[in-house]
Amino acid sequence: MSVQTTDYVASEIRSPVGFLANRVFIYGALAFWAFICLFPIYWTITTSFKTAVDVTQGHLIPFVDFQPDWKGWRSLGLSPDSIFQTSTVREEFFKRFMNSVITSVGASSLAIVIGSLAAYGLTRYRYQFAWFKNEDISFFFLSQLILPPVVLALPFLVLYREVGLLDTRIGLILLYTLMVLPIVIWIMRDQFNSIPVELEEAALVDGLSIWGAFFRIVMPIALPGMVAAFILAMVLCWNEYFFAALLTSTDAKTIPVMVASQTGSQGINWWSMAALATAAIAPLAVIGIALERYLIMGMTAGAVK
């Protein structure tokens, strides 16, 4: 923990040796942690190109240690030679993939819509419902965050069966919306608080209605915050496993459930598991790298005053 923000430390250390040692330590630590973050991903991707022998002998470097093979991807029906043939596994995979896309996009969108509206109302107006004031209503929404999925899972299992929503994407979307709503409200409240009220006051004077001011003036300004909340919600929904495992069986199964159910009784097909895991994490890895700015914006909302 002795590493300090170096822009002022560096100037303090006079001797070039000390400076060099400092640099070496910092870059060493950075490289070490980067290795810890990247190696499992590297391992997964390379394993999807290994044959059984290469896996059990622990070969690591393609073309040096072992000859890459499309085996894992072929078993998914996604290798170059099998992509044009019919493959039930591939169909299954795409079905699960679409389920994941639809549920996470659907839930995030729904949460953004109702969450932004609520956050806007809570930052701009004063409500009172019985003895509940704004702070209580905000607390009510945010307190949903501590509700563990396991508390809702069993009642929902029973309720969904009665309502006919078990194993449907709508059912998952509703639950995921509930799961990310507190986070969306948290982020959006922070966003709306940073927009000056004078803008809407001017809009109202110019004859816009309350909702007109919201849609025409406030929303365009708050859009980056909405994108941030949306991306964060997407990540959480895409990776959700607990509800999906309990509430879906055949139709609405999502990617994480498919990945988890592969570890069958007769040993593990390492290569196809690796290919599947790679395909499951690839979309989010791409989103994470491309939209990292928004993710960070979402995660740090309200943390620093």
Binding site: Q4, W33, W43, I114, P256
Partner: protein, 371 residues
């Protein structure tokens, strides 16, 4: 639902007197009809399900539609009766109705299920059995073990915090390729815990050929079985979970570091403080509020820990790694024991509500005392 919007802003609105009595009456009529309609549909369905009448629906789904329609009618009624105030209420209404329907009702229902003897795989169906589940829970050594594990898992957050703080300091130092390192460090958070459990837990830490096991052998650990002994298995689960979630705290702490004013650090340096002193006497106290937020949020997420345990160890060896969530999950999955499982979940809910409330109070006082 008579939420009164007191008219705080803007000051020039005084719409109450602009609404004609006819419009007001229409609004009340809409809300009344909708409420009666909803109640009637529910009553009808209850009668049908208890086989008093033959008229009704096969599933309860129409009740959901009726609730949505009732919500729409309520919104229309608000606008009709209260004009602009009603329009303001519309911002809050969807989220409120949604959350109430999705949380309050299932939780209450859950408390009821918790008091029943209900096994989905038996023909007997649901039977009210009072507090039997509760007494069974108190005597259940596995549940106690799972609760104890949660304490250990939560304590592991402190170690994660130290690492996350170190990483945040590294990223805040003057380095090249800062954006590259930030993206790389953030990456684990994006990956699905299930895929991570497979990648690391099942494959990388595999006893025979996993690179982690090979490395451990090279370092002199003869028998690197990460998941066979209770203590190492717990530590392995903590490591897996830490790997995914350290970036979360790291990003929050980094934001805190970047928001810190340079002048204070500059002043400390001018006063002749060493790096070590500056950290403990300036940086760390200033970072305390952010740290507390990050740690509390992380603990809240930690209390939900389940995915990794379910996929990697399924609670093994012998329930040693079980979190409460994964234990209840198996109680349902393997034994279809809905009644007992729900009792466990509800007891857990009460425990963590008490714990988190205490934690928030304690953290508040802690931050105030130090500053």
């Amino acid at each position: 639902m008579a939420d009164q919007t007191t008219n705080a802003w803007p000051a020039n609105a005084g719409p109450a007197d602009l609404i004609s009595p006819g419009r007001k009456q229409l609004g009340f009529a809409v809300m009344a009809v909708a409420t009666l309609g909803l109640l009637a549909v529910i009553a009808l369905q209850i009668l049908y399900k208890s086989e008093v009448t033959t008229l009704g629906f096969d599933t309860w789904r129409p009740i959901v539609y009726a609730y949505i329609l009732w919500g729409v009618a309520l919104a229309v009624g608000q606008v009709l009766t209260r004009g602009e105030d009603g329009q303001r209420a519309l911002f809050l209404l969807p989220a409120l109705l949604f959350t109430i329907a999705m949380v309050i009702f299932p939780t209450l229902f859950g408390f009821y299920i918790a008091l029943t003897d209900w096994n989905l795989s038996s023909f007997a169906g649901r039977k009210f059995n009072g507090l039997d589940n509760f007494w069974q829970m108190l005597a259940d050594p596995y549940y106690r073990n799972a609760l104890f594990n949660m304490v250990l898992y939560v304590l592991a957050v402190l170690v994660e915090y130290v690492i996350a703080f170190g990483l945040a300091l590294l990223l805040n130092a003057q380095i090249r390729a800062r954006k590259f390192f930030r993206v790389v460090f953030l990456l684990p958070l994006m990956l699905s815990p299930v895929a991570v459990s497979w990648m690391i837990g099942k494959s990388l830490m595999e006893y025979r050929f996993g690179p982690a096991a090979t490395l451990a052998r090279h370092l002199g650990w003869d028998n690197p079985a990460f998941f066979s002994n209770p203590i190492t298995a717990r530590i392995s689960i903590m490591v897996l979970d830490a790997w995914t979630f350290i970036p979360f705290m790291m990003i929050m702490l980094l934001a805190g570091l970047q928001a810190m004013s340079r002048d204070v650090l500059e002043a400390a340096r001018v006063d002749g403080a060493t790096t070590w002193q500056t950290f403990w006497q300036v940086t760390f106290p200033l970072m305390l509020p952010v740290s507390v937020t990050a740690v509390i949020l992380r603990i809240i997420f930690k209390l939900k820990l389940a995915d990794i345990i379910i996929t990697v160890t399924s609670g093994g060896p012998g329930g040693a790694t079980d979190s409460v969530s994964s234990f209840i999950y198996r109680e349902y999955r393997d034994r279809s024991n809905v009644g007992y499982g729900t009792m466990l979940a509800m007891a857990y809910l009460v425990l963590i509500v008490v714990f988190v409330t205490w934690l928030l109070k304690f953290a508040n006082r802690f931050v105030r005392n130090v500053n």
